[in-house]
Symmetry: C2
DNA sequence: GTGTTTATAGTCGATATGACTATTAAAAAG
DNA sequence: CTTTTTAATAGTCATATCGACTATAAACAC
């Protein structure tokens, strides 16, 4: 394309983050409360402007560090979701937003940034309605994560460095909202080379009732072949 | 996020299109030849600025119509790929580009637009090196389309309204670059409800050698359950 | 006719899956 | 300290699906 000076029109470019984690057995999302209009008092996804010399990915990781207060966000799963560009998605001005999805294993209490009244984790199911088009972004993020659990090893991104197969299964059940058969889930995960690897001699004795579970680490594999499909529901969106 | 006047920085926002089709038995991509620097004489993906009152999706569909010369692009498959925002991806100025993938069944000769020296279809394998980061965008589009063939009914987007199963199979083989077993492919497609539906009493007699093939139309299904997986190659990207 | 090409039908073993039952090891209840 | 409860793990079995085949059918070239 060519740069016709008559066609050039400046846009503001921002990033919005759908930061997901599993807390208290539920899927939760990091939200900030808006301090001013529009949508003052509403919850919104954290985000901010892309700075002149950074990419959207860099901006997203910077915002993620700022909003979660985590010192090290280098290892976290951060993935571009899609870009939202409806002309009136922000009533004040033309803003194009590149949305990202981030997955966290543990859930530190966020600190409120300078531009947000409050910040905190809210259960996904009771998160709406959010400011702007953030309900749509959040729903898209949920759908994307649910789909990627099927054919990638992404579920370990929700887990701490060492985890039990029960915890891993809980990730699937929480994101998909369905129960899975435990022996079958085990069989599938262990039959996939590189999905998880056993931590030698270790067993989780922490607090839980029942037989202690063996501990596993995330393996080197990234894809799941064949995939681990959600219990069939018809007409699933493409 | 808040609109701090010190943080606000204008960007140019464009769309880039990876328009794919199958011509002469090969995967081909619509390219335009740049008429001026930078990259004068290089091939590039078609694209252009997002106008002040349109979304990126609207801009992409407008550009698609302009570049292909097709009167009706409403039915064509157009899908957001991802957004490319590296600060120096365009040497002249800060440009954030929302990339789209479009799939065409037939391949009209494109007309050169006002801002391109030439436009035409080039085989995917001999398309590079392209201007800017368009090699990356094109490779991402190819990977995305290949992956979506596995678990969606997207392949029909490459086919005319009525097609044979051999033509449909050829779509898979061309995009994936692998041969498929014909009886097994038939069985899989016909066993998936809503993927294709037979055109009653019709058979393609056009020119081809061998037994005439039955004609099919795209069915109402969008997802493929279970998926039609590529012949296994290890370490497929997520 | 013969041979070639492509479409279509069907077979068979290997593998994966869904729905189960059984056993084991720990904590909690009594 | 024995029983109950809870959760992890092992294993079974029928079915569905897949990959690799073979076989037949319908067109054209010669």
């Amino acid at each position: 394309m060519e740069y016709d000076k008559y066609a050039y029109e400046p846009f503001a470019v921002t990033v919005d983050l759908a930061v997901l984690t599993i807390r208290d057995g539920a899927l939760q999302v990091l939200l900030v409360e808006r301090g001013q209009d529009p949508y003052a008092g509403h919850w919104a996804l954290p985000g901010g402007f892309v700075e002149p010399r950074e990419s959207a990915e860099t901006a997203a990781r910077r915002e993620l560090a700022e909003e979660t207060g985590l010192a090290d966000v280098t290892g976290l799963h951060l993935e571009q979701l899609r870009t939202y560009s409806e002309p009136d998605r922000d009533p004040r001005m033309r803003v194009v937003s590149v949305a990202f999805t981030a997955l966290l294993p543990d859930a530190p209490e966020p600190r409120a940034g300078s531009d947000a009244a409050r910040a905190g984790w809210l259960p996904y199911d009771s998160a709406g309605p959010l400011a702007f088009d953030h309900d749509t972004i959040l729903a898209d993020a949920h759908e994307r994560v649910g789909a990627k659990l099927e054919y990638t090893c992404l579920a370990t991104a929700f887990c701490p460095p060492e985890f039990t197969l029960g915890e891993l299964q809980h990730v699937y059940e929480t994101v998909w909202g369905t129960a899975l058969d435990r022996p079958n889930f085990r069989r599938k995960v262990l039959a996939t080379p590189g999905f998880v690897e056993a931590v030698p001699g270790a067993a989780r004795l922490t607090g839980g009732r029942g037989k202690p579970a063996a501990l596993y680490r995330a393996g080197p594999a990234t894809a799941l072949h064949p995939p681990l499909l959600r219990p069939s529901r018809e007409g699933r969106p493409a």
